[in-house]
Protein backbone atom coordinates (compact mmCIF):
# COMPACT_ATOMS: atom_id res chain seq x y z
CA UNK A 1 0.00 0.00 0.00
CA UNK A 2 2.91 2.35 0.82
CA UNK A 3 4.40 1.63 -2.62
CA UNK A 4 1.07 2.45 -4.27
CA UNK A 5 0.84 5.73 -2.38
CA UNK A 6 4.42 6.54 -3.37
CA UNK A 7 3.53 5.82 -7.00
CA UNK A 8 0.49 8.04 -6.71
CA UNK A 9 2.65 10.89 -5.36
CA UNK A 10 5.19 10.48 -8.20
CA UNK A 11 2.39 10.57 -10.80
CA UNK A 12 0.96 13.72 -9.16
CA UNK A 13 4.37 15.39 -9.30
CA UNK A 14 4.85 14.38 -12.95
CA UNK A 15 1.46 15.78 -13.88
CA UNK A 16 2.08 19.06 -12.07
CA UNK A 17 5.53 19.35 -13.68
CA UNK A 18 4.21 18.65 -17.20
CA UNK A 19 1.40 21.19 -16.78
CA UNK A 20 3.85 23.77 -15.45
CA UNK A 21 6.21 23.17 -18.40
CA UNK A 22 3.33 23.73 -20.86
CA UNK A 23 2.09 26.88 -19.16
CA UNK A 24 5.68 28.19 -19.09
CA UNK A 25 6.15 27.36 -22.80
CA UNK A 26 2.86 29.10 -23.59
CA UNK A 27 3.98 32.25 -21.80
CA UNK A 28 7.32 32.20 -23.60
CA UNK A 29 5.80 31.60 -27.04
CA UNK A 30 5.20 34.59 -29.33
CA UNK A 31 1.73 33.33 -30.21
CA UNK A 32 -0.37 30.46 -31.40
CA UNK A 33 0.79 29.15 -34.73
CA UNK A 34 4.47 29.78 -34.14
CA UNK A 35 5.27 26.18 -35.02
CA UNK A 36 3.49 26.51 -38.32
CA UNK A 37 5.36 29.70 -39.15
CA UNK A 38 8.25 28.57 -41.29
CA UNK A 39 10.77 30.44 -43.33
CA UNK A 40 9.96 29.64 -46.92
CA UNK A 41 12.25 32.22 -48.44
CA UNK A 42 14.79 29.98 -50.11
CA UNK A 43 16.03 26.90 -48.30
CA UNK A 44 18.43 24.25 -49.48
CA UNK A 45 17.36 20.79 -50.51
CA UNK A 46 19.55 18.03 -49.13
CA UNK A 47 20.68 15.68 -51.92
CA UNK A 48 23.03 13.78 -49.62
CA UNK A 49 26.83 13.56 -49.50
CA UNK A 50 27.06 17.28 -48.80
CA UNK A 51 25.34 18.33 -52.03
CA UNK A 52 22.64 20.98 -51.70
CA UNK A 53 20.22 22.29 -54.26
CA UNK A 54 18.89 25.83 -53.66
CA UNK A 55 15.12 25.72 -53.93
CA UNK A 56 14.97 29.12 -55.57
CA UNK A 57 17.39 27.85 -58.26
CA UNK A 58 15.49 24.72 -59.01
CA UNK A 59 13.66 24.77 -62.30
CA UNK A 60 13.30 21.69 -64.39
CA UNK A 61 16.68 20.48 -65.61
CA UNK A 62 18.28 17.64 -67.53
CA UNK A 63 20.96 15.52 -65.90
CA UNK A 64 23.24 13.30 -68.05
CA UNK A 65 23.61 9.72 -66.93
CA UNK A 66 26.75 7.80 -67.85
CA UNK A 67 25.13 4.63 -69.18
CA UNK A 68 22.07 6.15 -70.78
CA UNK A 69 21.63 7.67 -74.22
CA UNK A 70 19.23 10.37 -73.05
CA UNK A 71 19.52 12.54 -69.94
CA UNK A 72 17.20 12.21 -66.97
CA UNK A 73 14.84 15.09 -66.21
CA UNK A 74 14.81 16.53 -62.70
CA UNK A 75 12.25 18.77 -61.03
CA UNK A 76 11.17 19.58 -57.51
CA UNK A 77 7.98 18.20 -56.02
CA UNK A 78 6.37 18.86 -52.69
CA UNK A 79 6.37 16.08 -50.07
CA UNK A 80 4.05 15.92 -47.08
CA UNK A 81 0.76 14.69 -45.71
CA UNK A 82 -1.23 17.50 -47.29
CA UNK A 83 0.59 17.54 -50.61
CA UNK A 84 -0.62 15.77 -53.73
CA UNK A 85 0.86 12.38 -54.45
CA UNK A 86 4.47 13.22 -55.53
CA UNK A 87 4.35 10.31 -57.99
CA UNK A 88 1.63 12.15 -59.91
CA UNK A 89 3.11 15.65 -59.49
CA UNK A 90 5.16 17.30 -62.21
CA UNK A 91 6.28 15.26 -65.19
CA UNK A 92 4.43 11.98 -65.71
CA UNK A 93 6.79 9.14 -66.49
CA UNK A 94 6.22 7.82 -70.01
CA UNK A 95 7.76 4.37 -69.97
CA UNK A 96 10.67 5.50 -67.80
CA UNK A 97 11.28 5.07 -64.10
CA UNK A 98 10.94 7.66 -61.34
CA UNK A 99 13.45 8.11 -58.53
CA UNK A 100 13.01 10.58 -55.67
CA UNK A 101 15.99 12.10 -53.88
CA UNK A 102 14.82 13.33 -50.49
CA UNK A 103 16.77 14.11 -47.36
CA UNK A 104 19.88 12.55 -48.86
CA UNK A 105 18.14 9.28 -49.71
CA UNK A 106 17.23 7.92 -53.13
CA UNK A 107 13.86 6.20 -53.21
CA UNK A 108 11.98 4.30 -55.88
CA UNK A 109 9.39 1.55 -56.10
CA UNK A 110 5.74 0.96 -55.35
CA UNK A 111 5.41 2.37 -51.85
CA UNK A 112 7.63 5.36 -52.53
CA UNK A 113 4.93 7.85 -51.42
CA UNK A 114 4.55 6.13 -48.05
CA UNK A 115 8.35 6.10 -47.61
CA UNK A 116 8.59 9.79 -48.52
CA UNK A 117 5.85 10.53 -45.97
CA UNK A 118 7.65 8.47 -43.32
CA UNK A 119 10.89 10.45 -43.81
CA UNK A 120 8.91 13.70 -43.82
CA UNK A 121 7.21 12.69 -40.56
CA UNK A 122 10.55 11.74 -38.95
CA UNK A 123 11.99 15.13 -39.95
CA UNK A 124 8.98 17.04 -38.64
CA UNK A 125 9.05 15.06 -35.39
CA UNK A 126 12.74 15.76 -34.85
CA UNK A 127 12.16 19.49 -35.50
CA UNK A 128 9.24 19.49 -33.03
CA UNK A 129 11.35 17.74 -30.40
CA UNK A 130 14.14 20.27 -30.92
CA UNK A 131 16.56 17.61 -32.18
CA UNK A 132 17.20 19.29 -35.53
CA UNK A 133 16.87 22.83 -36.89
CA UNK A 134 13.78 24.02 -38.73
CA UNK A 135 14.79 23.70 -42.37
CA UNK A 136 12.40 25.44 -44.74
CA UNK A 137 13.18 23.06 -47.62
CA UNK A 138 12.22 19.93 -45.67
CA UNK A 139 9.12 19.40 -47.73
CA UNK A 140 10.73 19.39 -51.18
CA UNK A 141 12.18 16.40 -52.99
CA UNK A 142 13.96 16.09 -56.33
CA UNK A 143 11.97 13.92 -58.73
CA UNK A 144 14.27 12.27 -61.27
CA UNK A 145 12.60 10.71 -64.30
CA UNK A 146 14.91 8.17 -65.92
CA UNK A 147 14.29 7.71 -69.66
CA UNK A 148 12.85 4.46 -70.97
CA UNK A 149 15.54 1.85 -71.53
CA UNK A 150 17.92 3.42 -69.02
CA UNK A 151 18.92 0.84 -66.43
CA UNK A 152 20.63 3.25 -64.01
CA UNK A 153 19.89 2.48 -60.36
CA UNK A 154 18.27 5.06 -58.02
CA UNK A 155 21.68 5.56 -56.41
CA UNK A 156 23.28 6.25 -59.84
CA UNK A 157 20.56 8.82 -60.57
CA UNK A 158 21.09 10.51 -57.20
CA UNK A 159 24.89 10.54 -57.72
CA UNK A 160 24.47 12.09 -61.19
CA UNK A 161 22.19 14.77 -59.75
CA UNK A 162 24.77 15.60 -57.07
CA UNK A 163 27.52 15.87 -59.69
CA UNK A 164 25.33 18.15 -61.84
CA UNK A 165 24.49 20.40 -58.90
CA UNK A 166 28.13 20.65 -57.73
CA UNK A 167 29.35 21.41 -61.24
CA UNK A 168 26.95 24.37 -61.43
CA UNK A 169 28.58 25.71 -58.30
Amino acid sequence: MTGARGGLCVLCLLLIASLAVRVHAHRQSPGIGRIAARDVSGGLIDLGEDAWLPRSDAGRRAVPLGNCARPASVELVRVGFYASDPSNAGTRSSGGRVVFVYQGRSLAGRLVTVRLNAIYFARRASVRLGLSPNNAADDWAAKVVLPAGCDASPEDAAAALRVAVRSQG
Binding site: G7, L11, L15, S18, F81, N117, F121, R128
Partner: protein
Protein backbone atom coordinates in the same frame (compact mmCIF):
# COMPACT_ATOMS: atom_id res chain seq x y z
CA UNK B 1 -24.52 -12.46 -2.16
CA UNK B 2 -23.31 -14.68 -4.97
CA UNK B 3 -24.72 -15.14 -8.45
CA UNK B 4 -26.95 -18.11 -7.62
CA UNK B 5 -28.42 -16.31 -4.59
CA UNK B 6 -29.11 -13.37 -6.86
CA UNK B 7 -30.97 -15.59 -9.31
CA UNK B 8 -33.01 -17.12 -6.49
CA UNK B 9 -33.91 -13.67 -5.24
CA UNK B 10 -34.97 -12.69 -8.78
CA UNK B 11 -32.35 -9.94 -9.09
CA UNK B 12 -30.21 -9.32 -12.21
CA UNK B 13 -27.03 -11.42 -12.18
CA UNK B 14 -24.79 -8.46 -13.04
CA UNK B 15 -26.02 -6.41 -10.09
CA UNK B 16 -25.63 -9.29 -7.66
CA UNK B 17 -22.05 -9.81 -8.86
CA UNK B 18 -21.33 -6.12 -8.53
CA UNK B 19 -22.54 -6.00 -4.96
CA UNK B 20 -20.74 -9.24 -4.14
CA UNK B 21 -17.38 -8.06 -5.51
CA UNK B 22 -14.91 -6.58 -3.02
CA UNK B 23 -14.33 -2.84 -3.22
CA UNK B 24 -11.45 -1.51 -5.32
CA UNK B 25 -8.05 -0.78 -3.82
CA UNK B 26 -8.25 3.01 -3.31
CA UNK B 27 -4.62 3.77 -4.18
CA UNK B 28 -4.75 1.57 -7.30
CA UNK B 29 -8.01 3.24 -8.31
CA UNK B 30 -6.57 6.74 -7.92
CA UNK B 31 -3.39 5.80 -9.84
CA UNK B 32 -5.39 4.49 -12.81
CA UNK B 33 -7.69 7.51 -12.80
CA UNK B 34 -4.81 9.97 -12.43
CA UNK B 35 -2.91 8.33 -15.28
CA UNK B 36 -5.97 8.36 -17.57
CA UNK B 37 -7.05 11.92 -16.77
CA UNK B 38 -3.44 13.18 -16.73
CA UNK B 39 -2.83 11.90 -20.26
CA UNK B 40 -6.02 13.48 -21.62
CA UNK B 41 -5.40 16.71 -19.70
CA UNK B 42 -1.85 16.97 -21.06
CA UNK B 43 -3.14 16.48 -24.62
CA UNK B 44 -5.94 19.02 -24.16
CA UNK B 45 -3.56 21.58 -22.67
CA UNK B 46 -1.01 21.00 -25.42
CA UNK B 47 -3.52 21.62 -28.19
CA UNK B 48 -5.21 24.55 -26.46
CA UNK B 49 -2.06 26.40 -25.37
CA UNK B 50 0.66 25.46 -27.82
CA UNK B 51 -0.89 24.36 -31.09
CA UNK B 52 -3.25 25.86 -33.59
CA UNK B 53 -6.76 25.92 -32.21
CA UNK B 54 -8.83 23.43 -34.16
CA UNK B 55 -12.09 24.41 -35.81
CA UNK B 56 -15.40 23.78 -34.03
CA UNK B 57 -15.74 20.60 -36.05
CA UNK B 58 -12.40 19.27 -34.83
CA UNK B 59 -13.02 20.37 -31.27
CA UNK B 60 -16.17 18.24 -31.11
CA UNK B 61 -14.50 15.37 -32.90
CA UNK B 62 -11.38 15.28 -30.75
CA UNK B 63 -12.93 15.52 -27.33
CA UNK B 64 -15.66 12.92 -27.85
CA UNK B 65 -13.27 9.96 -28.01
CA UNK B 66 -11.48 11.06 -24.86
CA UNK B 67 -14.79 11.63 -23.04
CA UNK B 68 -16.09 8.17 -23.91
CA UNK B 69 -12.78 6.53 -23.03
CA UNK B 70 -12.62 8.27 -19.64
CA UNK B 71 -16.27 7.42 -18.92
CA UNK B 72 -15.54 3.75 -19.64
CA UNK B 73 -12.46 3.78 -17.39
CA UNK B 74 -14.43 5.44 -14.56
CA UNK B 75 -17.19 2.88 -14.98
CA UNK B 76 -14.76 -0.05 -14.94
CA UNK B 77 -12.76 1.27 -12.01
CA UNK B 78 -15.72 2.07 -9.75
CA UNK B 79 -18.14 -0.71 -10.71
CA UNK B 80 -15.60 -3.47 -10.10
CA UNK B 81 -18.01 -5.92 -11.73
CA UNK B 82 -15.14 -7.69 -13.52
CA UNK B 83 -12.96 -8.19 -10.44
CA UNK B 84 -11.08 -6.05 -7.96
CA UNK B 85 -8.56 -3.62 -9.51
CA UNK B 86 -5.10 -4.68 -8.36
CA UNK B 87 -1.76 -3.08 -9.29
CA UNK B 88 1.63 -4.65 -8.59
CA UNK B 89 4.78 -2.63 -7.93
CA UNK B 90 5.90 -3.33 -11.51
CA UNK B 91 2.56 -2.09 -12.88
CA UNK B 92 2.99 1.19 -11.00
CA UNK B 93 6.58 1.53 -12.23
CA UNK B 94 5.40 1.00 -15.82
CA UNK B 95 2.70 3.66 -15.37
CA UNK B 96 5.28 6.13 -14.04
CA UNK B 97 7.64 5.47 -16.97
CA UNK B 98 4.73 5.77 -19.42
CA UNK B 99 3.69 9.06 -17.81
CA UNK B 100 6.98 10.60 -18.95
CA UNK B 101 5.27 10.86 -22.36
CA UNK B 102 3.16 13.65 -20.82
CA UNK B 103 6.16 15.87 -21.56
CA UNK B 104 6.12 15.17 -25.33
CA UNK B 105 5.54 18.58 -26.98
CA UNK B 106 2.89 17.33 -29.41
CA UNK B 107 -0.75 16.58 -28.70
CA UNK B 108 -0.85 13.15 -30.34
CA UNK B 109 2.60 12.04 -29.14
CA UNK B 110 1.36 12.33 -25.54
CA UNK B 111 -0.71 9.21 -26.17
CA UNK B 112 2.49 7.15 -26.28
CA UNK B 113 1.81 6.96 -22.53
CA UNK B 114 -1.40 5.00 -23.11
CA UNK B 115 0.23 2.79 -25.75
CA UNK B 116 2.91 1.69 -23.32
CA UNK B 117 0.62 1.27 -20.31
CA UNK B 118 -2.20 -0.33 -22.32
CA UNK B 119 0.18 -2.75 -24.02
CA UNK B 120 1.57 -3.78 -20.63
CA UNK B 121 -1.85 -4.25 -19.01
CA UNK B 122 -3.28 -6.23 -21.92
CA UNK B 123 -0.27 -8.44 -22.59
CA UNK B 124 0.22 -9.70 -19.03
CA UNK B 125 -1.84 -12.58 -17.71
CA UNK B 126 -3.87 -11.17 -14.82
CA UNK B 127 -6.27 -12.39 -12.22
CA UNK B 128 -8.42 -9.25 -12.41
CA UNK B 129 -10.24 -8.62 -15.66
CA UNK B 130 -10.72 -4.92 -14.80
CA UNK B 131 -7.06 -4.05 -15.50
CA UNK B 132 -7.20 -5.81 -18.87
CA UNK B 133 -10.38 -3.92 -19.80
CA UNK B 134 -8.82 -0.60 -18.80
CA UNK B 135 -5.70 -1.51 -20.81
CA UNK B 136 -7.89 -2.14 -23.85
CA UNK B 137 -9.47 1.31 -23.51
CA UNK B 138 -6.01 2.91 -23.22
CA UNK B 139 -4.87 1.09 -26.36
CA UNK B 140 -8.03 2.09 -28.25
CA UNK B 141 -7.51 5.73 -27.24
CA UNK B 142 -3.87 5.66 -28.29
CA UNK B 143 -4.79 4.11 -31.66
CA UNK B 144 -7.48 6.77 -32.11
CA UNK B 145 -5.32 9.71 -31.07
CA UNK B 146 -1.89 8.64 -32.30
CA UNK B 147 -1.33 5.49 -34.35
CA UNK B 148 -4.46 5.61 -36.50
CA UNK B 149 -3.81 9.24 -37.40
CA UNK B 150 -0.15 8.56 -38.13
CA UNK B 151 -0.87 5.53 -40.30
CA UNK B 152 -3.54 7.49 -42.11
CA UNK B 153 -1.18 10.38 -42.80
CA UNK B 154 1.58 8.10 -44.06
CA UNK B 155 -0.70 6.16 -46.38
CA UNK B 156 -3.30 8.74 -47.33
CA UNK B 157 -2.11 9.31 -50.87
CA UNK B 158 -2.56 5.56 -51.42
CA UNK B 159 -5.99 5.56 -49.73
CA UNK B 160 -6.97 8.71 -51.64
CA UNK B 161 -7.34 6.79 -54.89
CA UNK B 162 -9.99 4.50 -53.39
CA UNK B 163 -11.60 7.39 -51.52
CA UNK B 164 -12.03 9.60 -54.58
CA UNK B 165 -13.21 6.61 -56.61
CA UNK B 166 -15.91 5.85 -54.02
CA UNK B 167 -17.04 9.50 -53.82
CA UNK B 168 -17.21 9.85 -57.60
CA UNK B 169 -19.16 6.58 -57.87
CA UNK B 170 -21.78 7.81 -55.39
CA UNK B 171 -21.65 11.38 -56.69
CA UNK B 172 -22.53 10.40 -60.26
CA UNK B 173 -25.92 9.31 -58.93
CA UNK B 174 -26.59 12.89 -57.77
CA UNK B 175 -24.68 15.10 -60.20
CA UNK B 176 -24.92 14.56 -63.92
CA UNK B 177 -21.57 16.15 -64.79
CA UNK B 178 -19.26 15.27 -61.92
CA UNK B 179 -15.66 15.72 -63.07
CA UNK B 180 -12.73 14.03 -61.30
CA UNK B 181 -9.09 15.01 -61.75
CA UNK B 182 -6.74 13.36 -59.23
CA UNK B 183 -8.09 14.40 -55.83
CA UNK B 184 -10.08 17.28 -57.32
CA UNK B 185 -13.87 17.07 -57.79
CA UNK B 186 -16.10 19.55 -59.59
CA UNK B 187 -19.62 19.84 -60.98
CA UNK B 188 -19.11 23.21 -62.66
CA UNK B 189 -16.27 24.84 -64.57
CA UNK B 190 -15.41 27.66 -62.14
CA UNK B 191 -15.46 25.78 -58.85
CA UNK B 192 -13.80 22.57 -57.60
CA UNK B 193 -12.77 21.04 -54.27
CA UNK B 194 -9.71 18.93 -53.41
CA UNK B 195 -10.04 16.00 -51.00
CA UNK B 196 -7.23 16.24 -48.46
CA UNK B 197 -6.36 13.83 -45.67
CA UNK B 198 -8.38 15.69 -43.01
CA UNK B 199 -11.60 15.42 -45.06
CA UNK B 200 -11.38 11.69 -45.61
CA UNK B 201 -14.49 9.61 -45.08
CA UNK B 202 -12.41 7.02 -43.26
CA UNK B 203 -11.03 9.55 -40.78
CA UNK B 204 -13.54 8.92 -38.00
CA UNK B 205 -13.46 5.13 -38.04
CA UNK B 206 -11.02 4.90 -35.13
CA UNK B 207 -13.29 7.26 -33.15
CA UNK B 208 -16.16 4.90 -33.93
CA UNK B 209 -14.14 1.99 -32.52
CA UNK B 210 -13.34 3.94 -29.31
CA UNK B 211 -17.03 4.79 -28.78
CA UNK B 212 -18.08 1.21 -29.55
CA UNK B 213 -15.54 -0.30 -27.14
CA UNK B 214 -16.35 2.26 -24.42
CA UNK B 215 -20.08 1.51 -24.57
CA UNK B 216 -19.40 -2.23 -24.44
CA UNK B 217 -17.20 -1.78 -21.35
CA UNK B 218 -19.68 0.54 -19.61
CA UNK B 219 -22.46 -1.99 -20.25
CA UNK B 220 -20.17 -4.89 -19.19
CA UNK B 221 -21.09 -6.49 -22.48
CA UNK B 222 -18.84 -8.83 -24.45
CA UNK B 223 -17.83 -8.22 -28.07
CA UNK B 224 -20.18 -10.80 -29.62
CA UNK B 225 -21.44 -11.13 -33.18
CA UNK B 226 -24.26 -8.60 -32.65
CA UNK B 227 -21.75 -6.06 -31.32
CA UNK B 228 -19.55 -6.48 -34.39
CA UNK B 229 -22.60 -6.09 -36.62
CA UNK B 230 -23.36 -2.82 -34.81
CA UNK B 231 -19.75 -1.69 -35.33
CA UNK B 232 -19.98 -2.46 -39.04
CA UNK B 233 -23.24 -0.52 -39.31
CA UNK B 234 -21.71 2.46 -37.46
CA UNK B 235 -18.67 2.42 -39.75
CA UNK B 236 -20.87 2.41 -42.86
CA UNK B 237 -23.00 5.26 -41.49
CA UNK B 238 -19.95 7.37 -40.57
CA UNK B 239 -18.44 6.92 -44.05
CA UNK B 240 -21.81 7.62 -45.71
CA UNK B 241 -22.32 10.83 -43.72
CA UNK B 242 -18.91 12.15 -44.76
CA UNK B 243 -19.38 11.21 -48.40
CA UNK B 244 -22.71 13.09 -48.35
CA UNK B 245 -20.95 16.06 -46.73
CA UNK B 246 -18.25 16.17 -49.43
CA UNK B 247 -20.83 15.90 -52.20
CA UNK B 248 -22.85 18.70 -50.58
CA UNK B 249 -19.78 21.00 -50.84
CA UNK B 250 -19.59 20.67 -54.62
CA UNK B 251 -22.31 23.04 -55.93
CA UNK B 252 -20.84 26.41 -54.82
CA UNK B 253 -18.32 28.23 -52.55
CA UNK B 254 -21.21 29.04 -50.19
CA UNK B 255 -22.13 25.38 -49.76
CA UNK B 256 -18.44 24.57 -49.25
CA UNK B 257 -18.17 27.22 -46.50
CA UNK B 258 -21.30 25.88 -44.78
CA UNK B 259 -20.31 22.18 -44.82
CA UNK B 260 -16.57 22.65 -44.32
CA UNK B 261 -16.33 25.47 -41.75
CA UNK B 262 -19.83 26.48 -40.73
CA UNK B 263 -22.79 25.00 -38.95
CA UNK B 264 -22.87 22.12 -41.45
CA UNK B 265 -19.50 20.80 -40.24
CA UNK B 266 -20.72 20.78 -36.62
CA UNK B 267 -23.90 18.98 -37.68
CA UNK B 268 -21.81 16.39 -39.52
CA UNK B 269 -19.57 15.89 -36.48
CA UNK B 270 -22.59 15.40 -34.22
CA UNK B 271 -24.24 13.13 -36.80
CA UNK B 272 -21.07 11.00 -36.98
CA UNK B 273 -20.97 10.69 -33.20
CA UNK B 274 -24.64 9.65 -33.12
CA UNK B 275 -23.98 7.15 -35.91
CA UNK B 276 -21.22 5.66 -33.76
CA UNK B 277 -23.36 5.57 -30.59
CA UNK B 278 -26.84 4.49 -31.66
CA UNK B 279 -26.20 1.06 -33.28
CA UNK B 280 -24.10 -0.30 -30.40
CA UNK B 281 -26.37 1.29 -27.77
CA UNK B 282 -29.40 -0.38 -29.38
CA UNK B 283 -27.54 -3.68 -29.58
CA UNK B 284 -26.57 -3.54 -25.91
CA UNK B 285 -30.07 -2.42 -24.92
CA UNK B 286 -31.62 -5.24 -26.93
CA UNK B 287 -29.36 -7.79 -25.24
CA UNK B 288 -30.21 -6.38 -21.80
CA UNK B 289 -33.94 -6.60 -22.69
CA UNK B 290 -33.53 -10.27 -23.69
CA UNK B 291 -31.66 -11.02 -20.45
CA UNK B 292 -34.35 -9.26 -18.39
CA UNK B 293 -37.09 -11.25 -20.16
CA UNK B 294 -35.24 -14.53 -19.47
CA UNK B 295 -34.84 -13.70 -15.77
CA UNK B 296 -38.53 -12.85 -15.43
Amino acid sequence: MDGSAGERAGRPIGAARTRGAPGPDRAALYIVLLFSCGTCLSAVLQRRLLENLPSAHNAVELSVGEAFGLAAILSLAFAGSRGRLVLSGLDIAILIVAALAWFVPEQHGIYLAMTLAGGWFVSRRRADRTSVDIGQIWLALSVYELWGKLLFKLCYQVIEVAEVGMISLVGRGFYGRLHVDGASLSVRDDWSIVILEGCSSFHNLSLTVVIWLSILKIAAHGADRAAFRALGLSACLVVAINVARILAMLPSPASYAFWHDGLGSTLVALGSVLAAIVPIARSVQGRAGCLGAQLR
